[in-house]
């Protein structure tokens, strides 16, 4: 079985002195680039004491930003989980024309600037956009409203789940599904009882990364948001607005939530990797 090969011990090389330098560089980079900013975020947020910090989070605009962020993620992440499973299934278990094109398209959001990912929706659904007149006539709002935020977030976070599943599903092949079919299972039963359990941990892992990015996304969301306080500002946009207002406690308090989300994601991700390394794909690149 292929699973056995991944547990082979890695050959370790010892180069005297080099190890020390490498470790030192990594630790310094970690401290300077990750731990220091993290410390600054929480220090600034709590600069005027805990009550001020809590008050900043309870401000109506902050609450509405938190709500909006959760709402956008709650729509975008499940949809991307479904799209991701569908795309990964198509690529790893079926043969069809244009497969490599699909594979490239999935990666597209990684390679284009998030600003462009936001702008395409403005060009499509903005007042001057392709469908702008039609939307206006039917009193539908996409840009500067929640649908626009969701669309922009979906586009930016599309690759996370698919990228996580494709290598794993390719490695697993389609034999187990074929076996289930010969044993009399329907297509849906096969998917539910064979495919899904085989990818559950990788799926969770992808959803986790997708969620972290969905909640933290700034660029694409910034373009379609319109920055209407209390209405279309997500948490990252809220941070920017407050920072520009010289409200550093408020800005850093909101930022601390995002930082906290990052830490929680990291812990869960590590726990997943630790407990289910065999069932996550080896070809991960994040």
């Amino acid at each position: 079985m292929t699973a056995a090969t991944s547990s082979e011990p890695m050959v370790k090389v010892r180069l005297p002195g080099v190890a020390f330098v490498m470790v030192a560089i990594s630790v310094l980079a970690m401290a300077g680039l990750i731990l220091l900013p993290l410390y600054v975020v929480f220090r600034e947020a709590l600069l005027k004491g805990l009550p001020q910090y809590l008050a900043a989070l309870k401000a109506p605009d902050a609450v509405s930003a938190i709500r909006l962020t959760l709402l956008v993620a709650a729509i975008a992440v499940p949809l991307n989980a479904v799209f991701g499973i569908a795309a990964a299934w198509a690529i790893s278990k079926c043969e069809f024309r244009g497969k490599s094109v699909l594979l490239t398209l999935i990666d597209l959001p990684f390679s284009i600037s998030p600003v462009v990912s936001g702008l395409v929706w403005v060009l499509l659904f903005g007042a001057q956009g392709l469908f702008g007149k039609w939307l206006l006539a039917h009193d539908l709002k996409v840009i500067f409203a929640v649908p626009g935020l969701v669309l922009a977030t979906i586009l930016v976070t599309f690759p996370f789940v698919a990228r996580e599943l494709i290598p794993l599903m390719q490695q697993q092949g389609a034999d187990e599904e074929a076996a289930a079919l010969t044993l009399g299972a329907s297509g849906f039963t096969t998917f539910r009882r064979v495919t899904l359990p085989n990818i559950q941990w990788a799926l969770l892992y992808g959803v986790l990364l997708c969620n972290a990015r969905a909640m933290g996304e700034f660029g694409a969301v910034s373009v379609v948001s319109g920055h209407i306080r209390g209405l279309t500002n997500t948490l990252p946009l809220h941070v920017e607005v407050l920072y520009n207002d010289y409200d550093s406690v408020g800005a850093f308090a909101a930022a601390s939530l995002l930082a906290g989300l990052g830490i929680v994601t990291l812990v869960l991700k590590t726990a997943l990797e630790w407990r289910h390394s065999g069932e996550l794909s080896a070809g991960r690149k994040h």
Binding site: T182, G184, A185
Partner: protein, 324 residues
Amino acid sequence: MSLQARDKEFLALLGPSGSGKTTLLRVLAGLEEPDAGEVRFDGEDFLALPVRKRKVGMVFQHYALFRHMTVAQNIAFGLTVRPARERPGKSEIRDRVARLLDLVQLQGLEKRFPSQLSGGQRQRVALARALAIEPRMLLLDEPFGALDAQVRRELRRWLRELHDRAGVTTVFVTHDQEEALDLADRVAILKDGELVQLGAPNAVYEHPATPFVFDFLGQACQLPGVVQGGSLTVADWETAAPEGATQGAVQVFFRPDEVAFAPAEGAGLAAEVLAVARRGPDVRIDCRIEGVLMELIGHGPTLPAGVAPGLSVRVKPLRPQVYA
């Protein structure tokens, strides 16, 4: 090509890689659709049935066990996915799994996961899982391909006994001629998607229909010859031609171990012995016949009389086959 398996038969599909044997098996299972042709089972049109309705038990080359299920859950899968009204009760499923575990001699391992089993055990779980649905036909894709030689031989005998007890028509795919001849009631030899020969192991081994079959079923020595009337002439050796041999120039094939050695002044093909090497019960005799280097095989603890490096002997093929 057309091929018919008999009821309760153990049929081997034998061929080199790329001969289409696995594709044929997958067509039977319904996992692949043929471009043309038909598949019938007891007169029923099999192609009209989807995979899940065919009730064909398939054992995949790498077993394809469900990795997140225990041995017992794997075996029970085919029963638990049935629609509610056809599904046996929980206790009946448990009994059936226990009986199958008994049959494949894996009692006590029902709680293990596939990753905790040896290759041979995995194969037996795959068989039990396929048998659980009481298949109308059992399909095995290279059943011993992923096992080492020792386990392979044991399982071979065991599989044959299992087939005789279960009484299910079984079709298995292999590229190993020894395995096919040893196990099967009949062997179908495939090449480039064509059926070249079909017959009982002895029949195909004794009378290969083509040079390809002759070569594929064992080692082959080859020399040009001429058939005239009832006699076959190879170099200065003349013997009776096999029955039904074509007239004129032919290729003569014989097995390196189906030869008799005679003194240089006797009848046979003139051979110059180059080297002799003992290989357990057999002796390898390298010699040159008609300018061609050949590895002949002698049996038994003593060398054939007069055979030693540097000597000339006569070699008489015992069962030459001729092909146009």
